[in-house]
Amino acid sequence: MIHNIPYLAVVALVAIGFWAMIFRKNLIKVIIGIAIIESGVNFFLVALGYRSGAYAPIYTHAPSGQMVLPVPQALTLTSIVIGVAVLALMLSLAVQIYKKQGTLDTRKGVLKK
């Protein structure tokens, strides 16, 4: 049971993210929802890479014993980098929308030509 706690946290994070994305009307909160889903997914990948009793592959002179295959960590790093770019892009678009419509509420926006 104790081993499943990270996965329960993943489910909670993804669910909270989807909830924020679907039910919040403020664009910034929608974007925060996506960021939370992304953290959940990254957390999932890191949790997959954990093997109890094995060493993390970070030593030059490795101690004897089993060592973890570093693929999930590599995936997580790539995904974090992509996530930052996506987040910055979405926030900059939100700024532009605020300039054009005067509000971030998706229900109230009126286009200023």
Partner: protein
């Protein structure tokens, strides 16, 4: 540097050359606008030549794999239990998709030379356009689920930048944000599914996963996530709202690349369904899922298109409904996958129709978007109500629009008829009702296109359009290339089906040969 060397390394070069050219664009800008346009054009032309060379070789002598960081052919690292190489695998289907992407990118760049002339920061425009190509080719060639996620994100981010390119338009940031939200959710779902599969089988390689897949509960969750993500990205029914918002604000050459990028998502969907899961999944359920998705997409798309006043939104909604044809045809084929007799009689032909429809769709949708771009270029509006009588000053444009609209409605002798007829006759044997709905949608498409044509081109010439002239030559060239492809494919469909479509479909459905060519017997 012989031809053989080029062929061996072409899967990597097709990704590397546009990537390199993209990031040199801001430097090349210093040499003047002509040089910048010339380099962008030379890059896409070179890629088109490389893709055609590679495709010819793949169709003639079978699939090619490319291993990064090792001898060619050494797909498994020696001494390892699990294959963790970075692999590209180009089979008939990938090569077929690469031809579509390269051709449309070439046309888009030719068209952009004049169309985008008045805009600023064109070095960044070409940078993002080339990055979009990188994303598409990467998704087509990769044999690795995680790389597919990375290239999907490259494609999405680059397209998002281009959708918001005319940021001065009031609704551009909104369309771009919508697109980015959908894309990033889709990509995160793909990543989550990759995690599920990796956690069980310790592999990211599609062939290795396909070999070991057991279709247990977790695999089913992963399948749902992957199907949902790619269906969302290709603009099928419940998530189709982003398509018109995005296509209508993007510049016309980008709209046609966006059409291709939805088809690349469709390719990823087919790759997941046929190669990754294939016969080991419940083919009838997955097939019917695709059929229902396709039917609702068809119907919703066309009914939303009819009342539109904005010409680009009208064409975008029709683009949504065209995706439905491919989903239906391939869904019918896949649901017969477990039944070899019926599959041989009409299932295979249905998939052929769907894949033929895919290349035809990219051509006539491209043509229609380019024509709407030409109208916008000359009269500065997308509103159909304020157009009229434009056939007199813009003769070539109006003929191209007529060809495109007859092709999209499936009227002979244009290419839309050839592929849609294949879909109707095979789907009719599967279930007549689906076929009848598809034909009805075709009629409604004709109605919508006829309305657009008569509103924009027919009628008396309006006084405010006295000064309107034909668009510049490079834009005409872009439209004429696509129009002649539409007519040629319509006149010689069997030539295209035998030489292009059939090898692609054979490669798509032969899951064992995909696994063997990557992992060995």
């Amino acid at each position: 540097m012989s031809i053989d060397w080029l062929l061996i390394h072409s899967p990597a070069l097709i990704i590397a050359i546009p990537l390199f050219a993209a990031f040199t664009m801001p430097l090349i800008k210093k040499l003047g606008n002509k040089t910048r346009n010339g380099v962008a054009f030379a890059t896409v032309l070179l890629i088109e030549i490389l893709v055609i060379m590679l495709a010819k070789d793949v169709f003639a002598s079978g699939a090619r794999s490319y291993v990064f960081g090792a001898e060619p052919g050494l797909t498994l690292p020696s001494g390892y239990i699990v294959p963790i190489r970075i692999l590209f695998h180009v089979d008939g289907m990938s090569a077929f998709m690469a031809i579509i992407s390269a051709t449309i990118a070439l046309v888009a760049v030719i068209y952009s030379l004049k169309f985008m002339e008045k805009e600023t920061a064109l070095d960044r425009y070409y940078l993002l356009l080339l990055l979009m190509m990188v994303g598409m080719f990467g998704m087509e060639f990769t044999a690795d689920l995680f790389n597919m996620f990375v290239f999907l994100e490259v494609l999405s981010i680059a397209s998002c930048g281009l959708v918001a390119y005319r940021i001065h338009l009031a609704d551009a940031p909104e369309g771009a944000l919508k697109f980015m939200v959908i894309s990033s959710i889709g990509a995160l779902m793909v990543l989550l599914a990759t995690g599920f599969l990796y956690g069980q089988y310790d592999a990211l390689n599609i062939a290795q996963l396909a070999k070991e897949l057991q279709f247990n509960f977790i695999d089913k969750i992963a399948l749902v996530l992957l199907l949902g993500a790619f269906a969302m990205k290709c603009g099928s029914f419940p998530m189709h709202q982003w398509v018109p918002d995005t296509y209508s604000v993007a510049p016309a050459p980008i709209s046609i690349l966006l059409v291709v990028s939805t088809q690349v998502s469709l390719y990823a969907l087919f790759r997941v369904v046929f190669t990754l899961y294939g016969i080991s999944s419940n083919v009838v359920v997955v097939g019917w899922y695709l059929i229902v998705l396709g039917l609702s997409t068809l119907f919703i798309g066309v009914t939303m298109a009819i009342p539109q006043k904005d010409i680009k939104r009208l064409i975008s909604y029709l683009g949504v409904s065209q995706i439905g044809y491919m989903l239906i045809a391939v869904g019918v084929g896949f649901s017969l996958f477990a039944n070899p007799v019926e599959f041989e009689i009409y299932g295979f032909r249905a998939i052929e129709g769907g894949i033929f429809q895919l290349i035809n769709d990219s051509m006539y949708m491209g043509l229609l978007f380019l024509v709407s771009g030409a109208l916008y270029y000359r009269i500065g509006t997308r509103n159909l109500d304020s157009m009229g009588g434009l056939a007199r000053p813009m003769k070539v444009t109006s003929i191209c629009f007529l060809i495109g609209s007859l092709a999209i409605a499936g009227i002979p002798p244009f290419n839309g008829f050839a592929s849609k007829f294949m879909i109707y006759e095979t789907v009719y044997r599967f279930n007549p009702i689906i076929s009848i709905v598809a034909m009805l949608v075709s009629v409604l498409t004709l109605a919508a296109m006829f309305r657009a044509f008569s509103a924009a081109f027919m009628g008396p010439s309006l006084p405010e359009f006295k000064e309107v002239r034909e668009v510049p030559k490079s834009m005409i060239l872009g439209m004429v290339i696509l129009a002649s492809i539409v007519v040629f494919f319509g006149l010689f469909p069997s030539l295209i089906v035998d030489n292009l479509v059939e090898p692609a479909v054979r490669a798509l459905i032969s899951r064992p040969s995909y696994i063997i060519s990557l992992l060995g017997g």
